[in-house]
């Protein structure tokens, strides 16, 4: 009997937590839509390239962060190694892109 109540409590706790999380995810999604619209708007608005490019890249990076941390739960416990590997991958990715954009045409 006592055990049942306990697991019920636990169930309710997890349910509430998941609900809370879902709320975050919906907010995240709304923000991603907004960011996307801003990004497209910047390009359609024909602002200066020097301004648009950095903002576009920042918006993309934030969106990707949202995907990883909210949609793919990288902030949760047990994601230490996934996070380490994704960041290592991003490190290698940045080096690769940097090289191919700067020291390829000689």
């Amino acid at each position: 009997m006592a055990k049942d109540t306990n697991s019920n409590h636990a169930d309710q706790y997890y349910k509430a937590k998941k609900k809370e999380e879902m709320k975050h995810q919906v907010i995240t999604f709304a923000l991603m839509i907004v960011f996307t619209i801003i990004a497209f708007g910047l390009v359609i608005g024909e602002f200066d390239k020097l301004f648009v490019f950095p903002v576009l890249l920042v918006l993309a990076a934030v969106q990707v962060g949202f995907q990883f941390y909210y949609f793919m739960h990288m902030s949760h416990k047990g994601h230490e190694f996934p996070a380490l590997m994704i960041y290592s991958g991003i490190f290698a990715a940045i080096l690769t892109i940097l090289a191919l954009t700067t020291i390829t045409w000689v």
């Binding site: 636990a10 169930d11 997890y14 349910k15 998941k18 999380e21 879902m22 995810q25 919906v26 999604f29 991603m32 839509i33 996307t36 990004a39 497209f40 910047l42 390009v43 359609i44 390239k49 648009v52 490019f53 576009l56 890249l57 918006l59 993309a60 969106q63 990707v64 995907q67 990883f68 949609f71 793919m72 047990g78 994601h79 190694f81 996934p82 590997m85 994704i86 290592s88 991958g89 991003i90 290698a92 990715a93 940045i94 690769t96 892109i97 090289a99 191919l100 954009t101 390829t104 045409w105």
Partner: protein
């Protein structure tokens, strides 16, 4: 120690069924690491594209990216894929609540959105080929464009086949500890496809439109 019956039973699932078994945990980690590798794969493709994006040499057809890309279609595609990311989040939410039916419904919606995205992408390619003679072999820019966007498209197609297979295979028997990790990993894959698309629409289309 668990027996087969436990793993295949839909009763009494723990609150994180995808990581409850060692096999599930291994799959979860292994797939994340694979995505780490995929990051480098796409970085290599992005780097190649960036190095070649205005590069036509002595090619016959040389429509630059500013004139080539139409943003309307890309916007719709982006919205479809972003939404499909949210629907797969819903699917995983219901999986964690052990509500198999709702999970299947949301996965079904995800598949439909993905398929619509893929259809538009194929139409887009068709449009470029027929109206601008912008093909895989027309210039280095063409090769790089179709390879980068095509690799992403191939990932979408593979993801669709994967999720559909999972849905058909498990439609009758419901959620259990054996298939929960499979669903979860497929949804991770789907999110990653969206991550890549975020960079494609930013770097290829938006920055390409600006010049």
């Amino acid at each position: 120690m668990s027996t087969h019956e436990d793993v295949l039973s839909s009763e009494n699932l723990p609150h994180e069924p995808e990581k409850a078994t060692l096999e599930g945990k291994n799959k979860f980690l292994g797939f994340w690491f694979f995505l780490g590798g995929e990051t480098v794969l796409f970085a290599s493709l992005f780097g190649t594209y960036l190095a070649l994006k205005n590069s036509f040499g002595a090619a016959e057809h040389t429509t630059p990216s500013q004139e080539l890309f139409g943003l309307e279609l890309v916007f719709i595609m982006t919205m479809l894929l972003l939404t499909s990311s949210l629907t797969s989040v819903y699917a995983m939410y219901h999986m964690k609540n052990h509500d198999f039916k709702k999970m299947m419904v949301w996965l079904g919606i995800t598949v439909l959105l993905g398929a619509a995205f893929l259809g538009l992408e194929i139409y887009e390619f068709y449009h470029y080929v027929h109206h601008y003679h912008h093909t895989f072999t027309s210039s280095a820019f063409g090769s790089a464009f179709y390879t980068l966007v095509g690799f992403h498209g191939a990932h979408v197609a593979f993801g669709l086949l994967w999720i559909i297979t999972l849905m058909i295979r498990n439609a009758r028997r419901g959620l259990n500890l054996y298939n929960a990790p499979k669903f979860y990993v497929a949804s991770l894959y789907w999110h990653f496809i969206d991550v890549v698309w975020v960079f494609i629409f930013t770097v290829v289309y938006l920055m390409g439109k600006v010049g």
